[in-house]
Symmetry: C2
Subunit: 230 residues, 2 copies
DNA sequence: CAAAAGAGTAACCGATTTGTAACTTGTTGT
DNA sequence: ACAACAAGTTACAAATCGGTTACTCTTTTG
């Protein structure tokens, strides 16, 4: 068994040959209807990757997506139906999607992307070395140095965003979007510094010489040590 | 496949013949070592039931248990090792365990209890009628009447406790423990009324004539309509 | 090296959550 | 029916969280 996948779609998520293709590639598939309850339904299944068919006409596709993104901490691939160019892709990536297949694509390509994202996220994530800190999305805490530290909502979002980028540098704008969502423009840029500062005080041994959350000057921040998502 | 089980133990969770017995009964088993990271590890596996071997000498068995209880929303059966009489059972049930096998028992009996709790919790929970409200533990919200309503931490705990009792009446003391944990004694009894009141204002059509959270006079509260956990 | 810009820190303020106190409403038993 | 008590409700106070402002420290660049 390779992993569990959830397909979210407007109607009939398991129709067509994509599900069959994925199943043959070794994934276990669960279909979920797009709607307010979709995020919990997906969460309940604990998928390792999500395919999100984004209909062109649905009013609440975006709201559901945002909730989904806040609920499941795994790669989400967006597949726009009958719409979307570059602009759309930029928008959904800003919202936290991991990929967006806007151009017409073949099933083989879709499969390749799914595999790539799955590997990227799960390759090291499943090797559970004891010393790697783990975040607990339910209690919004992190287990680090054998201790559980409670995080606030914003601290949690910040950290989760960094984790999602797997050690890569994340620029300030993206972090702000991850924390404040749509209203990110309206909150001062220094609030991000403050949020980082407060998070460091909680998880770093010496906040002045951070081991985890390291500044990339003029760009943003990155995780210098691995922290596992959940 | 019947369901996924997690066994939490001090060491070697999959040793002995209990795991084999459960596997033969059709359950998928995952072992998790007792420790600070146990709740997340269990959460990651999304079990449908948890067996918790409670060692007599472990200092943090209780703390881990409390976190586990707050992390996974499924039946937890406690199996004390070399200790515990009635008092111990009462204590762990207060902490939110669903069962505690203190008396010496046979494996057949253990299996029977596992099956019983699994059925009790999952029989109706898996039939997903659209109209049944669902709580989302990650965002601490409830999807009810096609709408997502954000709950506060206390409201969420209260509701989750009621859900866990599956429509049965829950007495005030137990609800207070579920919300305030160890410090429940120190908070005034009327705070529970207030918490109920606020939750009703959020989820009931008419808080004066509640459809969901109904008062059992002189005892406590119960859910008159089903709400699904997650 | 000095100025400019980015990042860190401290102080403070406002919004939300959550608790207590006081009062009203409803239920039970005599 | 009415006294006693449980539950519901309102008002307000304390605690927490999260944000802006203002200032300092560090890095980059002319």
């Amino acid at each position: 068994m390779k992993g569990r996948l959830v397909i979210v779609a407007d109607r009939d998520p398991l129709r067509g040959d994509v599900p069959e293709l994925l199943r043959q590639a070794g994934y276990e598939i669960k279909g979920v209807l797009l709607g307010p309850q979709a995020p919990v339904a997906a969460y309940r299944f604990m998928p390792e990757l999500v395919l999100y068919y984004w209909p062109s006409d649905s009013a609440d596709a975006e709201e559901v997506f945002v909730h989904l993104r806040n609920t499941v901490d795994v790669p989400i691939l967006v597949l726009p139906i009958d719409h979307g160019g570059k602009d759309f892709a930029v928008r959904v990536l800003r919202l936290g999607a991991d990929d967006c297949l806007c151009e017409p694509y073949r099933n083989r390509e879709l499969l390749a992307r799914v595999k790539a994202h799955w590997r990227r996220y799960w390759q090291w994530s499943k090797a559970d070395a004891q010393e790697i800190p783990v975040i607990d999305p339910v209690s919004r805490s992190i287990i680090i140095r054998e201790q559980r530290v409670k995080l606030t909502e914003n601290e949690y979002r910040l950290l989760r965003c960094l984790i999602r980028h797997d050690g890569g540098v994340v620029n300030r704008q993206e972090l702000r979007n991850a924390i404040w969502g749509a209203g990110a423009e309206r909150v001062s840029s220094t609030s991000l510094n403050l949020c980082v500062h407060r998070l460091r005080k909680k998880i770093e041994r010496d906040p002045h010489r951070p081991e985890y959350i390291v500044t990339k000057w003029g760009v943003g921040y990155y995780l210098a040590r691995k922290v596992r998502g959940a």
